[in-house]
Assembly symmetry: C2
Homo-oligomer: 175 residues x 2
């Protein structure tokens, strides 16, 4: 049974490829965009892990400007998945930030108000799957930088992040 625990590493920059089929699986061959189709990339795998959420997504990212990642989070929200987003107060106001878009859609967003720079970039799917690494949720990071993302279900790695998220979420309660 321990051998069945998911452990995977994705490296970036990701190849450029169309990800439309991930969002609209019912229309697999209909996309007319100029990007390559039918190619599995680090980025398409990342999107699929995020979209695998069935009950909750806890997201702690200081920078969030990637439109496809934003689209994935919005899709989960419209499916009824409970989303919580914790971001850095200084980054939220920056051009291209998707945090305002998520907020307008009704997603619960809290900004870290501490004096300390929030450098995390992790997500916890269904309190069970950890997605973490060097990758910021920006277009530059996905297509431009050499980055890594770990994806693991190992409880000894996932649980500390679940706990840290709860701690930061409670600490930044605006109420």
């Amino acid at each position: 049974r321990p051998g069945r625990i998911l452990n995977e590493v994705l490296f970036f920059p990701s190849e450029m490829a169309c990800v439309e089929h991930i969002f609209t699986p019912s229309l697999p061959h209909s996309c007319l965009c100029p990007l390559p189709h039918g190619v599995e990339t680090s980025f398409s795998l990342l999107l699929q892990y995020i979209l695998s959420a069935s009950s909750s997504l806890d997201l702690c990212v200081f920078a969030f400007s990637n439109m496809d990642l934003s689209r994935a989070v919005l899709a989960l929200h419209s499916r009824g998945v409970t989303i919580r987003v914790l971001s850095d107060k200084d980054y939220v106001a920056i051009t291209g930030s998707q945090i305002g878009v998520l907020r307008k859609a009704g997603i619960c967003v809290r900004c870290d108000v501490g004096s300390v720079y929030m450098h995390h970039k992790f997500a916890v799917v269904d309190s069970r799957l950890l997605i973490t690494g060097s990758l910021n949720w920006t277009l530059q990071a996905v297509q431009g930088n050499m980055e890594n993302i770990l994806i693991t279900e190992e409880p000894k790695l996932v649980q500390p992040f679940v706990k840290e998220f709860h701690r930061l979420w409670a600490r930044n309660d605006p109420a």
Copy 2:
């Protein structure tokens, strides 16, 4: 046996505490510095994991200015551990960078010459233990930022990083 695999998460900022005993364990109670003593912190644990190397340390970090981390790498080098450091070409020249210090000590350093920004911050100890996360090897990151570091021996997580290091190391061979 799979249950014995090391998996640990460290969160930062680390408490400030003296780490002198880690470098000179033979003199445990002799330090006269003003920092707290005998306190185990995220940073002291990180140093100990790095210093646990007995044969090799492969380091891929775009920023390296932390003096204690530099001291740990130099200590391993003087013990005969094979060190390879891969860094970002743009960061090497920055004030406080320890890359020049490591080079002068005879440690093999290669700078990524690709057009792409190298955003990794990972280390592989003895080809067996992976240390990776959001933490840059700077003083600011260790004491100032909210960061995370994963430490794992899980082969499915370690091996992709070993392979990626070899790929990048070979690609940046100056010869």
